[in-house]
């Protein structure tokens, strides 16, 4: 089942990069959500919009060189950003021929603890592994962060480059979350006055924000009417 999901979604994943004097510095992952070239990613990756580009992936499943020296990158603009919920909507600025599946947008309400999920992302993009890494796991918990953001915890160990990628619910084949980072319990207690023990740092739990925040951005941009049944 994860195989089919990987086939479905890997073509929608792109590297998010910033162009600086002909060099591309890798930032993270973004994924297509609309045939007119809209993508979602994590807002903190796109907090500065100058020089933002995306690099499409090659969709087939062959053995490919792990590193590409030169890449064609497409300039993107930040359409909307919701920093409180770490979601941003980008648009590729030039027209492209893009096909998206009829159904791929879900809701975080549609995934339950223990469900199988797949996360996709350029896990080691910082280290120049220019390939989408698919990792399967399970939903570990559904929590609300201190600022009342709905988060899905899952037991994949996401890497820095995975951030901004899609979290996919295996049962439905729909995106339910937007990968935001490794879950670090100290984040939660930092600032509390009665805390002086350092907890172990490297949990194998990661977190994604509910895709619904991204959908809200899309809805405000008027994108949800024509994407199959998703709107």
């Amino acid at each position: 089942m994860l195989q089919g999901l990987s086939q479905k979604f890997r073509g929608g994943c792109m590297m998010l990069v910033r162009e600086q004097e002909q060099d591309l510095s890798f930032l993270g992952t973004a994924f297509l959500v609309h045939p007119q070239g809209y993508l979602l990613t994590a807002a903190h990756l796109a907090h500065r919009s100058e020089g933002l580009h995306v690099v499409p992936t090659h969709p087939n499943d062959e053995f490919t060189p792990m590193t590409i020296d030169r890449a064609a990158a497409l300039a993107v603009a930040v359409v909307a950003s919701d920093t409180a919920h770490d979601s941003a909507l980008l648009r590729i600025e030039q027209p492209l021929d893009i096909a998206v599946p009829d159904d791929f947008l879900g809701s975080a309400d549609q995934v339950r603890t223990g469900a199988s999920i797949l996360s996709l992302g350029y896990a080691f993009g910082h280290e120049q592994l220019h390939e989408v890494i698919a990792v399967g796991g399970h939903v570990a918990a559904k929590i609300r962060s201190p600022n009342d953001t709905r988060l899905i915890l899952f037991d994949n160990m996401v890497q820095d480059g995975d951030i901004g990628g899609p979290l996919i619910h295996a049962g439905d084949g729909h995106i339910v979350g937007l990968v935001s980072g490794r879950f670090d319990p100290t984040e939660v207690v930092r600032g509390a006055t009665d805390w002086d023990r350092r907890p172990p740092h490297d949990t194998n739990i990661s977190f994604a924000v509910a895709i619904d925040y991204g959908l809200e951005l899309m809805a405000r941009a008027g994108l949800l009417a024509g994407t199959g049944g998703a709107g």
Binding site: G11, A72, H126, E187
Partner: protein, 571 residues
Amino acid sequence: MTDKVYSAPPEASVTAPADPPAGPWYRLDVHPWVFFTSAAIIILFVVLTIFFEQHADDLFGRVQGAVSRYAGWFFVGTMNVILIYVVSLMLGRFGNIRLGGEGARPEFSTLSWFAMLFSAGMGIGLLFYGVAEPMFHFVASPLAEAGTPEAARVAMDFTFLHWGLHPWAIYALVGLALAFFAFNKGLPLSIRAVFHPLLGERIYGPIGNVIDIMATVATMFGVATSLGLGVQQVNAGLHHVFPVIPQTAQVQLLLITGITALATWSVVRGLDGGIKLLSQVNVVVAAALMFFVMLLGPTLFIMNAFIENIGIYVQNFAHLSTWNETYDNTQWQNGWTVFYWGWWIAWSPFVGMFIARVSYGRTIREFVKGVLLIPTLVTFLWLTTFGGSALYIDMFGAGGIAKAVQENIPVSLFVLLQNFPLAQVTSLLAITVVITFFVTSSDSGSLVIDIITAGGNTEPPKIQRIFWAVLEGLVAGALLLGGGLVALQTAAISTGLPFAVILLGMAVSLHRGLNQYQTGQAFAVTLGDYQGPQFRTAPTRKLPTFGRRQLWLRRPGPAVRPAPSVGGGQA
């Protein structure tokens, strides 16, 4: 930004149990083409049939004869293909897809769900043919010498074939397809929606209208003619039990009025109020009748037969379900198996639609188990209880059932009951069951027509519900008085042929839809003749820092624990 964003999943917001319709009582919500064309066709057909009864009888009879003779193999093949497909859905990778999306929760408890499925799906025929059909096959068997134990086995086997997995597989397919496209893909709850993967947006055009009008007309004639014909049977039964009640058109009209009134009340009260309640009453009374017969009748024989019949059914399954009397060169099958297949298929839009409406929140696996396996088993128990008792009386008891069956099918049930103690009580129970089965078929039929002609609105306005429920009674009454019940029923069954083709298309369409829903289609970006600049890639020397994300900033005000759930709860 507030928390209320997308509190319901986008799919579910279309379908979640709708709010009561707002506005004044006379507000209509109709799909103009489907509503008015269907109503016109129905009235036109009824008038023509009444005026030209003889011709209509002839014509529809001939069409039906030709359909069963030349397309019998097609029906037999289609039924099997669909059964195999539905079983594969239960076992295969789509089994975990939940109708309405993962967050959806069933509207009805499993027991009431099942009661409604059963009441809509089999209904009245089961009551009369439960006794009559095994007896027919017993005295005139195509595969065994009449009157022998072998004939009894074959008789039960054929009856199981006709009432078993195949019809429920048809219902399951239609119900599943409708539910999936309505609840998971946000299309309107109507037959046309199922063809979205094949026809795309054209389903909203003329093709879609034709499909929905066909479904509406077939449902109306199916339900109305059953009502008309069934009422005659009820009258015969009543007359048999209470000889003071005459067998006249007046009594039958009174019965139609009563049943229609009850059904109208039930449809107006809606699924939760009326239909669910009546279905539960119906199933409870039917179960009481069955257990009565089981206990008062030849209990041991029934228990033995139940197990053995299932064994025979399984043993001969491949043989009987593909049997086409090719080498026997007989015409037996046209009157039985093919007739049944046409009947089930003609009823499938109606029953399937109803099943879809009540199945929100079930997974596909649950759905197929609930619609295919459980009703089949219960039907088998019912058929064994009534058919087996009849066989027992004819083979080892007082006899006389076979003769009663051939004289008058509805009376045979009451003749059977007279062979057991407490005949007055069981006969009264039987009449109650007959009537509640009627009302539940009638109200679910009206609801289905309501939904289709309202363009897929699952909670159509009350005035429309009243209109269709009353029209159903009027059609039945008019045909009863003017003649033409049999003619129109024959016509309805003949629509099984085009619907069989539609069903196969439905299976293809559903499969494509499920596949696209879960995996299947992929993202593809074609750069084409992109001639943009290429850039050097470089490893990241120093990981960017983004500061502390706002996710972890506490909102002003005290944290409440447990936090009140806003929006993130049950869909």
